[in-house]
């Protein structure tokens, strides 16, 4: 299996190559041990984390996320999840950079409303401009809109991450045509962020030509998160391999059998 996965080209983001094209979130797990096991089973090298106020007066011995996912082993992708304005997102990601010792790779996310968690694109573009000017490497959650994606690329973002369906919905790739349009519109990596529900969704995203998939809920809320993490690892690798292999063209008619037409024993049968 290692051989097969090595045959797939690496994902390159901001000049750095990653063998895994699956990026995972770290929320909604039962506990830190389940988080650790699921992330390990996913094979992900990039993990996204949120930035939140610490509980004051906490037990100094209590383990933290950074203890179970050592930053030396994983590339952290701090996110601005939960932010509804460009200002809040920029402020959150600047704190994340300080928290992670100058780490520049971030996931920008500016939400539009609490019901849909749909991206607010005007605010997202504003925040992206500020962050890129400030030296951040910005991967950005965005609408599946090729024009917005191209604007984000022009601003200097290092990857665009359109939603395939609403965050946490598990509805799958609802508009594969738009995802394709985004892929065609930009030269930076395109990752589906949000909406994947099960392994086939991840494979479809990769077969469409996405460079990667980022997911959290599909793994964390599965009945067996560790098993689902493994399923997602295989699906993303399979989908990518199929994309690189190049699928056969679809033909509604003119079916051609896979076995030879010559040498049939019933040559005289009526057609």
């Amino acid at each position: 299996m290692a051989h097969t996965e090595q045959a797939v080209t690496p994902l390159v983001i901001a000049g750095r190559a990653y063998a895994s094209r699956l990026l995972v979130g770290t929320g909604k797990y039962r506990d830190l041990e389940e988080t650790r096991q699921a992330v390990a089973a996913s094979g992900a090298e990039i993990v996204t984390v949120a930035v939140r106020r610490t509980n004051l007066g906490q037990d100094p011995a209590a383990p933290s996320l950074l203890d179970v996912l050592p930053p030396e082993r994983y590339t952290y992708l701090p996110n601005s999840a939960g932010c509804y304005t460009a200002e809040d997102a920029v402020r959150t990601l600047r704190l994340a950079r300080e928290l992670l010792d100058g780490h520049a790779l971030v996931k920008l996310e500016v939400l539009g409303d609490e019901r849909t968690l749909y991206p607010n694109m005007p605010e997202t573009l504003r925040a992206a401009e500020v962050l890129v000017r400030d030296g951040f490497q910005v991967m950005v959650y965005c609408a599946d809109d090729p024009i917005q994606a191209r604007r984000l690329q022009d601003i200097g973002c290092v990857a665009v991450m359109p939603l395939a369906s609403l965050i946490g919905s598990g509805m799958g790739i609802l508009n594969p045509w738009n995802v394709r349009l985004v892929i065609d519109a930009v030269s930076i990596p395109v990752l589906v962020d949000a909406g994947v529900g099960t392994a086939s969704d991840a494979a479809i995203a990769m077969e469409l030509g996405c460079d990667g998939v980022l997911m959290n809920t599909a793994i964390a809320q599965a009945r067996d998160p560790v098993a689902m993490a493994r399923a997602m690892r295989l699906a993303v690798a399979s989908g990518r391999l199929a994309h690189e292999a190049g699928r056969m063209p679809m033909k509604h008619y003119a079916a051609s059998p896979s076995s030879p037409g010559d040498g049939l024993i019933a040559v005289g049968r009526s057609r």
């Binding site: 979130g25 988080t35 939140r52 106020r53 610490t54 004051l56 950074l66 300080e98 946490g168």
Partner: protein, 67 residues
């Protein structure tokens, strides 16, 4: 005593305290946190020499699970 705001909560602490002492008193000594004081980020290297004044608004954040 000083009265400061820490993560949106009003907290009283002894005067002449550095940010480093304040973090230690909250069980955060040596923990990976980031601190904003009155809207400006305080670099980790400056915790010991950052004095806390009455009315300061502190935000202390950590990395947590999220998607």
């Amino acid at each position: 005593m000083l009265e400061i705001s820490m993560n949106g909560r009003t907290v009283r602490c002894p005067a002449h305290r550095s940010l480093q002492d304040l973090l230690a008193s909250q069980g955060l000594a040596g923990k990976r946190v980031a601190v904003e004081c009155n809207g400006a980020i305080v670099p980790r290297s400056a915790y010991a020499e950052t004095a806390i004044a009455s009315g300061d608004r502190l935000e202390i954040v950590i990395a947590v699970g999220g998607g």
